[in-house]
């Protein structure tokens, strides 16, 4: 990303001063990535774009609440978008995989569907150079994490998707997160 976290922190501070140009720069620099995050969860471009818009209204109104000493700007933004998307997903229960309007996006969506959450997780782990460390986890444990993070699924949905008992899925998620934490720490990338 051309705009660094330092740039974004500076811009968000300007947004808190009601600087509309800075707001637009934050939007332009991050909207494509953030829409991708929302789209993974909602699987519908229109709903994802609505969520993105609402999230940025939130950014405009609460930029003063951003504190560079607490979180990086991208973490803060991703968090706003994911929470909004998860709320939208759960309030709209859930038309995932059902009809999609046959516009230009239908093709893209079909292609994206092939890119499973598991693959996204594997790519991220490789990029973070913790794929070796995370290989200590079973495939199901990694898949459970991937479905929760990229699809916003809850335990019961993961259990249904993977055909596993609920208690087992909860344990998978817990172990998966434990492992993620220790692998990130071992790689010196822990936030804490």
């Amino acid at each position: 990303m051309a705009t660094t976290n330092d740039d974004l922190a500076r811009l968000l501070a300007r947004v808190a001063l009601r600087d509309r140009a800075a707001f637009e720069q934050v939007y332009r620099a991050t909207c494509a990535h953030l829409l991708g995050v929302a789209f993974r969860i909602l699987n519908q471009r229109e709903r994802a774009e609505e969520v993105l818009q609402e999230a940025f209204m939130n950014v405009w109104h609460s930029a003063a609440g951003f504190n560079a000493a607490v979180a990086t700007p991208m973490t803060w933004l991703i968090n706003i978008v994911r929470n909004r998307a998860i709320d939208a997903l759960r309030s709209g229960k859930t038309e995932r995989g059902s009809t999609v309007a046959l516009d230009d996006d239908a093709m893209n969506i079909a292609a994206d569907e092939a890119q499973q959450p598991q693959q996204l997780l594997d790519e991220s782990l490789a990029r973070l150079k913790i794929d070796g460390c995370m290989a200590g986890l079973g495939a199901s444990q990694r898949q459970a994490i991937a479905l929760a993070y990229y699809r916003g699924m809850v335990h019961t949905e993961i259990a249904a998707a993977l055909g596993a008992p609920l208690g087992t899925v909860k344990a998978w998620v817990r172990r998966g997160l434990d492992k993620l934490k220790s692998c990130l720490e071992a790689a010196g990338m822990s936030a804490a």
């Binding site: 909207c31 991708g36 818009q53 000493a69 979180a71 968090n79 916003g152 990338m189």
Partner: protein, 249 residues
């Protein structure tokens, strides 16, 4: 249920950050989050970890209508609500307008002095209890060179928000931010608190509770920085505003 037991808190924080905490449990934990710095920090740590997994998500360009709708919803009614980038004024023009009639340089020249204020308007620091007494809070008043009160900062003793009110506008040059620092009583290095606006008021999220941050702090000050300071940063230049920080109880 004691949400703040460290192990239980970590389990809740990670499930909340991941999104697997659902329904009533999610709402209840959000209420805890609003009140507990420890919970906010625990969630923040997990969000940082999980945010690293977002790197592989394919970017997807929103349609132009998203930005246009955003401008409409946020800025409709203002003059250039639907303006395009080409028609957009310079980012700093509004600043220049605020300070029309004086130059940025003279507005900032030779600022420094301090005054102590113990009296402030009820309501400035949030909801008032029915009785008249002000709640236990930390209060700072920062003044400029002429001794004119400029920034009022206040935070409830156990709160995690600092309310900042500008009593007169502060000139913040293009490319700079006004960084608020806390100066400990023992003379150790100032630490960053947050960024303050050039006018109006703002809520600044604190890294910890006021009590933890300000217990040993006797002064607050503002410097102009190129970017918001992170933990461990030091002021790069002179303070343009400063004043005492006092306990209101």
């Amino acid at each position: 249920m004691n949400y703040l037991h460290p192990e239980r808190l970590d389990l809740l924080a990670r499930e909340y950050a991941l999104g697997t905490l659902n329904g009533g449990a999610r709402r209840r934990f959000e209420r805890v989050l609003r009140q507990s710095p420890a919970a906010t920090l625990a969630v923040g740590v997990w969000m940082d970890r999980l945010a690293q997994l977002a790197g592989s998500v394919p970017a997807m360009q929103p349609r132009d209508a998203v930005w246009q709708g955003l401008e409409q919803r946020l800025f409709a009614g203002t003059a250039d609500a639907s303006s395009t980038a080409a028609a957009k004024p310079s980012p700093w023009r509004w600043l220049a307008e605020i300070f029309s009639g004086r130059t940025l340089g003279s507005a900032l020249a030779g600022v420094l002095l301090c005054v102590l204020v113990l009296r402030l308007q009820p309501g400035l620091i949030g909801m008032e209890p029915e009785r008249d007494a002000l709640p236990a809070s930390y209060v700072g008043l920062l003044v400029d060179a002429a001794g004119k009160p400029t920034v009022l900062a206040s935070s409830r003793r156990h709160g995690r928000q600092l309310t900042v009110k500008l009593l007169q506008p502060v000139a913040i040059p293009a490319g700079a931010v006004a960084q608020l620092w806390a100066l400990p009583k023992d003379g150790s290095a100032p630490f960053p608190v947050g960024v303050v606006p050039g006018q109006g008021s703002a809520q600044v999220a604190l890294a910890d509770s006021s009590e933890k941050l300000f217990f040993n702090v006797t002064r607050l000050a503002v410097s102009l920085e190129a970017a918001p300071a992170k933990a461990g940063d030091k002021p790069s230049g002179d303070f343009v505003l400063s004043g005492h920080c006092v306990k209101l109880w």
